[in-house]
Each structure stands twice: as structure tokens, then as C-alpha cells.
């Protein structure tokens, strides 16, 4: 059931073996297998379709390279295209504000609060910044307490207004407070919300309007399936976010959502979160993600040596 693409393409290699060049028919076969593998890795159905249509076109255009084994050529082509699609120029986060305001948003349970604290920790320890965390989730039971505990662990102040039910004024007051105390980055944690929850989407739009963030980051669970595109598109339409954070990559998910989101909103993936501890934050490597989606550890380097 969990046959990965390596196995699949090895099977396809057999189909292709002996054929000096890639013909339309065996490209079509291989492309079908690749599409299946992408969908099993949770790449969105439509995204997988258009991605593999492109691959097919490119593969056929590579007829000239008859010297290279066609199956291996296909693997490399797919891998490189995946990495290119998810990569591009690595963009840092904008820390030019005074203070710089970073707004965190996403679905329930995606890892926003944990990431907010990790980001504060990273900016503090790696960038010499003086961040402040803002408890802008006034709904989830013990959300404020959770952020406070994390803030204590990393020794970063957490701004709260205990009985307030108004995240907009919490965010505004936090920025005033940060200015007063010389904190140069303000990270605003928000409540989880569904993209179809009109009231809650309006709320996060109002926070954006009130504080004009330097950076809005959309946090998404890397285990998300086909729905990732709907959610990402809706959050992007509402917030025009600057980047994506992929969480829970310490699991064994293929993480096809990364490709889907990139294809649909064309915003860079800026960070990956790989654990519950505060240090488990990484920058995004498109190459590794391509390998992961394809479920093919070392095959690409093998191909490159061949």
C-alpha cells in the first residue's frame, strides 16, 4: 500500500528499458505513476495533474538526450522541477520595522503558538534581537497560559491583557509597550481559525489593519491533505501573507501540502518546525522537501553519479 515512488519508477524503468529514447507512450505511463505518487504524498489532485502535464511536455522535449537512461532522466527531471517550484530565492524575514511586527495565523492546532515562541527564541539567540510575544488568542482554553510558559522557558516577555476579549487592541497596546521598553520585534500569536469562519477571518484582517505587520506568516501542519490548497488560498486572499511555516516535519509525512501551497499561492516557505522543543526550527530546504515528497532518500544522488 505504501509503495513509494522509487519502487514505482523502478518498475517504470523496466518498461522503458531498452528503448533508446523517451517515446510518447512510455512517458505517459511513467507520468501517470508519478502523478499517483504525488497524490499519495498529499499533493493536491489538480496541482499534481498540472505539474505532471508540465513534466510530460519537458520530458518529450528532451528527446535529444538519448545517451542518458530515460528512466533515470525522468526521476531527476521530476526532482529538480519539484525543488525549483518550491524553492526560488530564499527570502529572509523582514526585520526592518521599529519594532518589526510579525503576525502569525493559521488553522486550529497547526502549531502557531509553539512556532511563535520558537521564532522569538531564534531571533533572540541567532539574530541578537529583543523580541516580545503577544498573546492574541483570547478563545482557546489556557492559550495565554501556554504562551506564558513558553515565554518563560526562553526568557522572552509575553504581553497579555488578562480579561480582554479584543485581540485588535491587545496587539495595538503590545506595540506601544514594546516601543516603550525597547523591544525590537513583536510576534503576535493568534487563535486558530477555519478559513470559512467569516467572523474569525474578519478578526485577523482587523488585526492586520491595526498593526500593519512587516511580516505575516501562515502556519500549516505538514500532515494536511487535499484541503491545504483551499485553506492557503483563503488565508492568502484575506491576508496576503508573506510566507509559510511548515510544522511537524519530525513526523513521517511526505508533506505534499508544501508543493500544493506553493503552487496555489506562490509564497515562499520560510521555516520548518521539527519538534516540540524550542530549538527545533529550521530554514526550508526545497531540495530535501522534493526528496521527501518523492519518498526517495538517495536515489537522486545515485542518478547524479551515474
Amino acid at each position: 500500500m505504501f509503495e513509494n515512488l522509487t519502487d514505482r519508477l523502478e518498475r517504470s524503468f523496466k518498461i522503458l528499458k531498452g528503448e533508446g529514447k523517451i517515446t510518447e507512450i512510455n512517458v505517459a505511463e511513467t507520468v501517470k505513476d508519478i502523478r499517483k505518487a504525488l497524490i499519495e504524498a498529499d499533493v493536491n489532485y489538480k496541482v499534481a495533474k498540472s505539474f505532471t502535464d508540465d513534466i510530460k511536455r519537458k520530458a518529450l522535449g528532451m528527446n535529444v538526450l538519448t545517451a542518458v537512461k530515460p528512466g533515470q532522466l525522468m526521476v531527476k527531471l521530476v526532482h529538480d522541477e519539484l525543488a525549483a517550484l518550491m524553492g526560488g530565492k530564499a527570502e529572509d524575514i523582514d526585520l526592518s520595522g521599529n519594532p518589526s511586527v510579525i503576525l502569525i495565523a493559521g488553522l486550529q492546532g497547526s502549531g502557531k503558538t509553539t512556532f511563535s515562541a520558537k521564532l522569538a527564541n531564534y531571533l533572540k539567540s541567532k539574530k541578537g534581537k529583543h523580541p516580545m510575544l503577544v498573546a492574541g488568542d483570547v478563545y482557546r482554553p489556557a492559550a495565554i497560559e501556554q504562551l506564558k510558559v513558553l515565554g518563560e522557558q526562553i526568557n522572552v516577555p509575553v504581553f497579555t491583557i488578562p480579561d480582554s476579549k479584543d485581540p485588535v487592541s491587545i496587539a495595538k497596546d503590545a506595540i506601544k509597550e514594546a516601543k516603550k521598553n525597547g523591544q525590537d520585534v513583536v510576534i503576535i500569536d493568534t487563535a486558530g481559525r477555519l478559513a470559512i469562519d467569516e467572523e474569525m477571518m474578519k478578526e485577523v484582517e482587523s488585526i492586520k489593519k491595526a498593526v500593519s505587520p512587516n511580516e505575516i506568516l501562515f502556519v500549516v501542519d505538514s500532515m494536511t491533505g487535499q484541503d491545504a490548497v483551499n485553506t492557503a488560498k483563503e488565508f492568502n486572499d484575506r491576508l496576503d501573507f508573506n510566507g509559510v511555516v511548515l510544522t511537524k516535519l519530525d513526523g513521517d509525512t511526505r508533506g505534499g501540502a508544501a508543493l500544493s501551497i506553493r503552487a496555489v499561492v506562490d509564497k515562499p516557505i520560510k521555516f520548518v518546525s521539527t519538534g516540540e522543543k524550542m530549538e527545533t526550527l529550521d530554514v526550508f530546504h526545497p531540495d530535501r522537501m522534493a526528496d521527501r515528497i518523492l519518498g526517495m532518500g538517495d536515489i537522486v544522488s545515485l542518478v547524479e553519479k551515474a
Binding site: M1, F2, K36, I39, E40, A41, D42, N44, Y45, L107, Q108, G109, S110, G111, Y139, R140, P141, A142, A143, E145, Q146, L147, K148, V149, L150, Q153, L194, A195, I196, D221, M223, T224, G225, Q226, D227, A228, N230, T231, K248, D250, G251, D252, T253, R254, G256, A257, E276
Partner: protein
């Protein structure tokens, strides 16, 4: 653009009176199942079964075809194997439910909702705060206990979760409790140590009540894709999962991955979560779920 017409209708129209289901329709079916996270393998299996039956049972009319599609999918959803005649929660006292799952799927919230449901049935409920790891996890469950107005057993953060579970059971026995619900920390199924910890919690509870936990509820996030298979596999092998709860179905995700999981592991889906309030828990309705897979495709 494709119309938003109900898939069942589209399929029916396209195949009425034919012995072969036409390819366009199967493509549509494939797309809607996959978009609902049903997965490639399961989708292909469903399509094959439809084709086979369409061939065998000639002269299909519209409603027959609808029924075939629905019944094929329904047959994949394991039924609750508990004897329907007798409420298992009534039969065993205390009835112990251990709630498990990966991080952030909705375990603690589901526990709050279950406590509310059982309490409304007139049962005495007790919660056990065995997530002693995640920041403010105990506070979160405590707020739920207050909201629903049920007692809770807890220790300090960092305490041994098995010891919290044990304490909870002890308190349940001496306080004539009907239902005990144990919260556990979220853990990714590929972390061996954390999975072993679950087996330990189970073992320690059995020192007091040999047949506990009577139910191991695996919570799956409805927006999770194919990784849910791995979750079901690993949690089942660590803790003998007996039922599933599927959360966050108030969003646009369909949770179709449970079809294949329920079929393969023979675990019934018992509850669905449709919101963040304590009233947002529903008993899983197989027919309604199958219908919902094709809504707005």
C-alpha cells in the same frame, strides 16, 4: 466550468441504462474521492467495485446506481463491534477511555465534549490530566473540567503520566465514577519512546483495573491526508485502538482518509468534532458521512 451538481446525480445520469460506466464519470468520481482525501488505492478499489457491479447487474437505473456507490463505500466503514443492545458504558464501572493521537488533532477538546455528553446522560464523569508535558496542557483540561463541571485528577507538570492515570482510576473507584477519560500528550507515531510511554500508561492502569482501558480512542484531524494511515497503524500497534474520533469536520476538509483506515484496521469511527464548543460533538453517522464526501465537489 463543472457544475456544482451533486455527484450522485451526475453519475446516475451518465450511467442510467448502460452496462458500462463511462470514463468521464469515473474520472469525476476519482477526482471527488481523492479531493476528499480518500487516497489513490482506496479510490481505485471503490471504482473497480463499481465497474464490476455495473457489469454484473445490468439494467441499472439511477437509484440503483446511487445505492451501489453508497453501499460500496458504506461497506468500508467498520461498524461498532460493541454489542448494540447494551450500553458498554453502563455495563462496566468505571468505564475507562484513554484518548490518544498526534499533536494538535483535538484530543483535549474532544475530551471536554465527551465529558459534557456523558454528564448529560446522567453519568458521573472524571477526567485525568495525563498530558504533563505540553505547555499549559493541565490548565487547558482544568478549564474544560470547570466548564462542564466535572472533577479532574492532576499532578504537577512533568509528572509521570502513568502515575496520573493510576491516581485517576483509584479516585474513580472510590468515588463511584461511571466514566473516566484520560488525556494524553500529543505524540508523533514515529517516536518510539513516546509510543512506549502509552503502552506503559496502559499497563499501569491495568494493575488496578485489569481490563482497563475499555476504550482507546484515536483522535484524527479531519484535514490530515494520507499520513493518517501511519498514525492508525502505529497507535494501533502501541495501544490497541478500539475507536476513532474525527475532528474539525466543520471546515472544508472531508476526512475521507478514514474510509481506508476503517476498512483496513476494522476500527469504527465513533465521534466527529464539528467545532470548538462543548456541544460540537456528534455521533458518527455512516450514511451522512458518505453523503458529505460528495457535497460541493
Amino acid at each position: 466550468a463543472k457544475t456544482k451538481e451533486n455527484l450522485f446525480k451526475r453519475i446516475s445520469r451518465a450511467v442510467a441504462g448502460k452496462t458500462k460506466v463511462d470514463d468521464d464519470v469515473l474520472d469525476d468520481l476519482e477526482e471527488s474521492l481523492i479531493s476528499a482525501d480518500v487516497g489513490v488505492e482506496t479510490t481505485l478499489r471503490i471504482i473497480e467495485r463499481i465497474q464490476k457491479r455495473a457489469k454484473e447487474e445490468k439494467y441499472l437505473n439511477t437509484s440503483e446506481l446511487n445505492n451501489i456507490l453508497k453501499s460500496e463505500i458504506l461497506s468500508m466503514l467498520a461498524e461498532n463491534t460493541a454489542p448494540e443492545s447494551k450500553d458498554p458504558v453502563q455495563a462496566t464501572k468505571p468505564y475507562v477511555i484513554m484518548v490518544v493521537g498526534v499533536n494538535g488533532v483535538g484530543k483535549t477538546t474532544t475530551i471536554g465534549k465527551l465529558a459534557y455528553m456523558f454528564k448529560n446522560q446522567g453519568k458521573k464523569v472524571l477526567l485525568g490530566a495525563a498530558d504533563t508535558f505540553r505547555a499549559a496542557a493541565v490548565d487547558q483540561l482544568t478549564i474544560w473540567a470547570e466548564r462542564v463541571d466535572v472533577p479532574i485528577v492532576k499532578q504537577q507538570m512533568g509528572a509521570d503520566p502513568a502515575s496520573v492515570a493510576f491516581d485517576t482510576l483509584k479516585s474513580a473507584v472510590s468515588n463511584d465514577i461511571d466514566v473516566v477519560i484520560i488525556d494524553t500528550a500529543g505524540r508523533l507515531h514515529n517516536k518510539v519512546n513516546l509510543m512506549n510511554e502509552l503502552s506503559k500508561i496502559r499497563r499501569v492502569m491495568q494493575k488496578l483495573l485489569p481490563d482497563a482501558p475499555h476504550e482507546v480512542l484515536l483522535v484524527l484531524d479531519g484535514s490530515t491526508g494520507q499520513n493518517a494511515f501511519m498514525q492508525a497503524k502505529e497507535f494501533t500497534s502501541a495501544t490497541d485502538v478500539t475507536a476513532m474520533a474525527l475532528t474539525k469536520l466543520d471546515g472544508t476538509a472531508k476526512g475521507g482518509v478514514v474510509l481506508g483506515i476503517s476498512d483496513q484496521f476494522k476500527i469504527p469511527v465513533k465521534y466527529i468534532g464539528v467545532g470548538e464548543k462543548m456541544t460540537d460533538l456528534k455521533i458518527f453517522d455512516r450514511t451522512e458521512f458518505v453523503e458529505s464526501l460528495f457535497r460541493n465537489v
